[in-house]
């Protein structure tokens, strides 16, 4: 049944994805505190809402408040009943196959995550346990290709970018695809979609039928960054920190396109990790790139990174402007180094156990006003630790911009207060201002009001 913008219909999985037990079905339907229903409904709505112009979780939930989802078991397997679902997910009343698969990926991951893996499994410490959890979720989702040489390129960048930047991400994706490389992104619009689109055309020309378009999301962000249906392997990680760890351990190299606060968070994450001394020898191709005209943008980024993390950080990335072929060739060269290193060290191709991620990057950070206000944004710490704190600051700003609890907290208590050394706060302020002016903070830029306030303070926090 189609009524204007809403569709009510039933959906079954195309493959053997979903053989659930009655207990599992009950948990997905359980709307009580411990139950999964609320999370499941929200993620499914995000998946169905792809192609929407909304990046505010709150507005999405408001618009589709009548949306409901029910699960039932039939003799041939599982069935999902969708009530008042966004019409954009359907063609002539039939759900788009890619979106159908996403629904069942959500179901698969939420059930698995929900099984509350033990905190300290098999004698591992806290960090080891988190990594093991990331590994288990990825394996359960069947994303490992043990026999395949490193070829998965993570593309980071803004969901809200200009037309030229978007076309450029397609061209880079095209050149990567021509070289038989696969794409992994955060699975939303903008720089998360363009490289997949470009690669899809290149893969068609190269007759690659098993090309991979991996999208990694998490429940807090998925509604703001609906997976585009080209994504053919969708993963829902439990939180932003495990999502970032998944990018870094599953991907073999990273391309960063222009973006806003989220992209800056990602840059700080990977650089902070690579600055850890245990990772000194580890090859990890990292390229910042944008179309002609983006020189200024990357200068701002570069300056900010050098000022905060030091010049050593700058040795870990390469900036290439307006040259998609060069990006692809440099990435290919980097992947050859990765391959050689893994062979030499008997590291698996499919999961980067070797990269050492400090616990501070792994532990979930809850961006409350208190937690934000007490972040250590002073120079009296290692670049790695500073990167971690700056990462958290930016993570909080993303939450304040588009995540549901973040937006609510801002509405209630006003902007987050961040205070730190002027030498840090000034470049940060410049960076954030440039994002605002370049309309990178939100799709709906006209209404943007900063969710943060920066204060320079002499000396360190007592």
């Amino acid at each position: 049944m189609i009524t204007e913008d809403f569709v009510t219909t039933s959906v079954t999985p195309s493959e053997s994805l979903a053989t659930l037990s009655p207990v599992e079905v009950a948990r997905l339907q359980d709307a009580s505190q411990g139950g999964l229903y609320r999370l499941f409904r929200q993620c499914c709505l995000a998946v169905l809402n792809c192609g929407s112009e909304l990046d505010s979780t709150k507005m999405v939930l408001e618009r589709y408040k009548k949306f409901d989802i029910k699960i039932s078991q039939k003799h041939r397997g599982l069935q999902l009943d969708l009530i008042n679902a966004p019409a954009s997910a359907f063609v002539d009343g039939e759900i788009i196959q890619g979106i159908r698969e996403h629904l069942f990926s959500v179901l698969r991951d939420l059930l698995y995550i929900g099984d509350e893996l033990d905190d300290y499994c098999h004698g591992l410490d806290e960090g080891g346990t988190i990594t093991h959890t990331v590994f288990q979720i990825l394996r359960h989702a069947d994303v490992f290709r043990p026999h395949v040489k490193p070829n998965l390129v993570v593309c980071w960048g803004g969901h809200s970018i200009g037309h030229d930047e978007y076309e450029y991400t397609k061209k880079v994706g095209y050149e990567l695809g021509l070289r038989r490389l696969n794409i992994c992104t955060g699975c939303g619009p903008g720089a998360m979609k363009g490289p997949m689109k470009g690669a899809a055309i290149a893969h068609a020309k190269q007759r690659i039928r098993d090309a991979r378009y991996v999208g990694i999301s998490e429940p807090g962000i998925i509604a703001a960054e609906s997976p585009n249906p080209i994504v053919n392997e969708l993963l829902i990680m439990p939180d932003i920190e495990k999502r970032l760890e998944a990018f870094v351990r599953l991907g073999h190299g990273i391309v960063v396109f222009p973006g806003g606060a989220g992209t800056a968070e990602e840059i700080l994450y990977i650089l902070g990790v690579l600055l850890h001394e245990k990772n000194n020898e580890l090859p990890f191709p990292l390229i910042f790139t944008g179309p002609e005209g983006s020189e200024a943008y990357f200068e701002t980024i570069d300056r900010f990174l050098r000022k905060t993390l030091g010049d050593a950080a700058a040795k870990r990335y390469e900036i290439i402007v307006g040259d998609p072929v060069k990006v692809a060739l440099r990435m290919e060269a980097g992947l050859r180094d990765v391959t050689a290193y893994r062979k030499a060290t008997s590291e698996s191709f499919h999961f980067n156990w070797q990269i050492s991620i400090p616990l501070t990057f792994q532990q979930p950070f809850e961006p409350t006003h208190d937690n934000m206000a007490t972040l250590n944004l002073f120079q009296d710490q290692s670049p790695c630790d500073l990167a971690s704190n700056l990462r958290r600051a930016l993570s909080g700003i993303v939450a304040g911009n588009v995540k549901e609890p973040g937006v609510q907290a801002i509405e209630e208590f006003g902007p987050f207060e961040l205070c730190g050394e002027p030498d840090l706060m000034d470049p940060l302020d410049q960076l954030l201002n440039s994002f605002v002016q370049q309309r990178r903070m939100k799709l709906n830029y006209q209404e943007y009001t900063p969710c943060y306030r920066l204060t320079g303070v002499a000396g360190a926090i007592a």
Copy 2:
């Protein structure tokens, strides 16, 4: 070895395509009069030259005059040695897989065509024999899908079109692809490429891994309209008339985008055939469409057709402007009619034996100055016959624009002379003028000089 714009390398088929006998290898290498070498070299060059901005066969041949191709048999099968091939066919020195397949499709079809099928086989008349030849070439190329419901949409339109028109062909292709329809075109750039590109993205979203992008070419046109590598089933028919017959018997419906002389030739072909009384009952979806702003273009076309072929012809097509979803829905409805009709009449899904194509549309027309000058362009004939003669006139103009012998003849003898009744010649003149002004005749429009001269004559040819 890569030297600037040329690549010299060896290529082997990826599948069992090419198990040739020594005799067959010798024929492909035979540069004498009866041998296939010249044709083979020329078609391979066209395939390798995809993405080029040249649509002049002569200029292509001139530019790559040092190109050569050799065949040898190895213990694991066939090998092609390419010497001084266009670099655009390669990525980092390795041939693009889609182009590799095209080379072997050329080889397959040329050898098969070259076997000189008997003129009157198995007691068939001339027309029946031509149709049987078309059937045999298609079957030999393995393009039939007997169990699949009609879903192959032929897209016709210009190779030289504007940016808005090109984007529109992508959108129509996308909407067709979302509805799981496959695309068949003349396999060059412009309106022949856009629908495939759009459909490829839609097919990715629908997870259709065996999507079809059929390209039908012929040796005379292939150099001017290099197959784009998205084409995953390339067919080389012996001449333009068999190419048109292949479109009509293999495809299940036709969408026509704006174009120039070639597109007009195609429109006259299909309408002439459908106007034949034996085809009165036959369902055949035929949609003319373009982006907003193309209203005037289609009015010109519509007016020309009504004036020359009569209003009955106009009942066979539908004009839709600026509405890709409507195009897709109307095509879907038309295909349902086709399916129902074939079931009711036990006609196969994969080859339209039923459509009656008069011999005058089947016989190869050689556009010499003499043949052009003596075309009957008067009203004293059935609409079907008139369509046939107009089709030939336009076919000659295409040859004079971009085909090698045609361009040479024009250089030597000046423009073709076409004369006929003023009531026909005037609308034809207007139509051709509009193509010239809209830059549809050639990619390289600045230099365009008409290769024809129209003369109105009172009364019919004696």
Copy 3:
């Protein structure tokens, strides 16, 4: 390296089966009390020892005491190093592919079982938890085919049977295979192998490339009943009771061939379950069959069952002698009933949640001398409970015959003492005697000494 009967070599998985974490590799290598090494080595040895004439776990372990297995992680995935493995698993030094897959099935299941699933998960009671565990192991092993109509026929019967009986099991398998049915057995020799062999030929004639030969084993029995390499889906359940539950919930019908104590145990299991009142309406095809000449055997079985469980039990099975086509046709009819019932009740095709298995059939029974001696073998109980106790008695006898701890216990303490009502003990005695005389107890029948002693006692146990 091959030295006579032993082979030392390395093996990698052919697919992405084995992406283990370092923690998991460590557990498989852990030879301490809680570690998996001992079990893993023993099961792998059993898998490698297929085709052997030994059905004594102890003798197998003794013969291959120098066998060792090591695991290491390489950049392309897991590697198993086999030291002094049975040569029969190899052809010219290369492991048989089917056996290679079995090794990795063992690894997969042992690791999963070893994760100590919670006793009372998600609020389920003890029985529910056991069933959920069975479900999870099967799902983890990817044996569900949710969209496929019921077609999995369990074949039970002796591992030690005569030549005519063996040929007959092949013929029945052939007729089942011709009707596109799949086979599931306990995966050892004799009646567990014959039906698969027959079905394999029939499946080849029917061009069924995804035919299923499911073998379900458990660590205690696997060494005595090495999986034959035709088995293409090997499952290791944690204990005999879960193995039996897996047969009953995964399979859609059962054929029972002649056999010994183990087969009698299986018959008592399925009849005991089916006699439970909750299963009264449940269709479950159950056919006892053997070649011409096996009439007497089945009369003995039938008499025993009627005397102990009553005539109601006999309504649940059909005896067919010497007619493979009839067996196949009756099974087909039964499966049609199963299909209809599951559709009518929205029960899944792939797992029989509906069949009610009383807890007494689910709880692991440890056949110590004490437990055997105190079994209630009197009539003062429901047929269902009596079946359960008789099942346990026979399970103990199987252990005493071929399982490692059972044989040791017998060597140490003498035969098990079973006592009960004469009306029960007499038929049981006759049944067991007939097995001994027909050489069904062990492959190596000459040396067979009964591991049990039956005593008739008037009145019930106090």
Copy 4:
């Protein structure tokens, strides 16, 4: 509809095998002199009659004289209507899939053969043209695997063999299959079926899903040697000589089991060819083998060959008795030589162009009484020519035993007269006598009356 032994039903091809034109359908239905109907009906009947105990074409045709076959074109493709077909081809009224495929293989080959390929194509001589025809038929049937290393083992031997011999052929097939080799035979019962059956089990254990069981037949013999349904690539060659050439050019090595006149014909063919001086260097593994007890049989063969063709012939084969593993290992070694030779000489893996087959082995021999009587069976010729004439003599005897026109000729004119030098006729007589006594001439041996009479004549034919 099933009536006792006959089934009337409709069959459609499972794949896109059969997209025929109306003209082709008409030819298959054409019962006139030049039409294909008679041949098509006879071959289809043979295919449907598999598993029968009849090896007399005449009796088969008599028994199923009411059998008829009709072809019609439906919207989804071709349909065959079978009237009064042998019931053994069906399971519960549904045709066995392998037999269904055979029907469409017959159709494919008869239509292709029927196209009357030119006698002297492309400037080839008579022998070259015949070889080219063989190549074209094989390629059209899609049997080439250009990228696969030589692994196709031809197994020759009697259709009428004892139980021990049959079991032995299964064991040899099993050992070949374990080594991943494929099987090619004449596709009837006995030694043509056993190796496929054994290999099928081994291939299942090795998880080889694309194993090949190639059967090569011809219209004259197919009714006497119905293809067994394990054959998954059935080829119908135009005559016995092209069938033999197909074995030799497609297969990579040959195993010969005990057999009768047909097997002797095959041995004389391959040895005659290999004795040709142009083939001196060519590696071609050729193994004669049988179970323990077959020593005497092979001594007779060996003696006959040495006496007639000389000791040089004996260097081309190896006799192995009662050792299937050795047969497989020797064949593997031989195939390695073949592989090395083809690589060294750039010969294709899939078709042996290099082996030189003298015209006398290629030209069809019609075994009339006249032609038989005038065979040159004297020593005044090269071993190669003598082998050719002896081959023809035995070919005639096979025809007189089981082929339709041969049996009729014998009934009408009495036995064939063969005369030649006593030194040749005596060993031939002994050989044939041994076949008769060992019941190898016909399945129905009790009634066997020799269809030949041998006469020793001093001196050569004038």
